[in-house]
Symmetry: C2
Subunit: 138 residues, 2 copies
């Protein structure tokens, strides 16, 4: 896509620190890392987000993540990692080209998870019912 | 696995608000939701984390996410969603049975993303080199 920075990275018009590449996916360092060595995994084809990405390309992304993540742990002597994907502006998605984050994590790196809330009595079932109305057909 | 709460949910020994199920995966509400309607997608088989999960089961999880996520948007009138997976204690993983989070998001829900850092001059290439030593073989 003409104005997409990730598409430009795919074709080499914009430089990046690539760490893995195959026919369908590319992995490179995020220039603004949550922790250093934070990797983005993208499809080479342009899709706006997860909803727009065909199943076959999503499968390729998850396989690339599975290949790279253990190597990141070794290379960076990290203790764990988070996988993340933001879908839509409200979720924090900035670049409109699907990308998964792999964020190396360390004991005591002081990154705090979002806090969970509680459901009121009966409310969890209400939410389940609300969702099942649409997932029952799947 | 005997003492795994998610395995007990799979077989129905522990109740849950299931929203989707197929032969290989199960989706149900997180009891401590980041936002209400927060869903967990798990494999029915017990695997500790992403690294231990066979590719075929990871593919099934991502396909379940792709099926459910758009329904969540509709059912909850959400504006977007985050996908997350925590691998290892250092990353925030609590239950040692692979699970993906689907977190409904709303404009102005006030959940703050982790902040990105900067690399020093030359440091990004150093990290790239460090990782490529292990990914070059892939």
């Amino acid at each position: 896509m003409h104005d997409c920075i990730f598409c430009k990275i795919v074709v080499g018009e914009v430089p990046s620190e690539k760490v893995y590449e195959d026919d369908d996916t590319l992995a490179f360092l995020d220039i603004s890392p949550i922790t250093k060595g934070h990797v983005l995994v993208i499809t080479k084809k342009h899709y706006k987000d997860l909803l727009e990405t065909p199943s076959s390309d999503l499968e390729k992304c998850i396989l690339t993540i599975k290949k790279i993540a253990p190597k990141l742990l070794i290379a960076l002597e990290a203790d764990g990692f988070n996988i993340g994907l933001n879908n839509g502006e409200a979720s924090g998605q900035v670049i409109k080209h699907i990308h998964f984050h792999i964020i190396p994590r360390y004991h005591n790196d002081n990154l705090r998870m979002w806090e969970g809330q509680s459901y009121q009595e009966g409310e969890m079932k209400d939410y389940g019912d609300k969702i099942r109305k649409f997932t029952i057909e799947l």
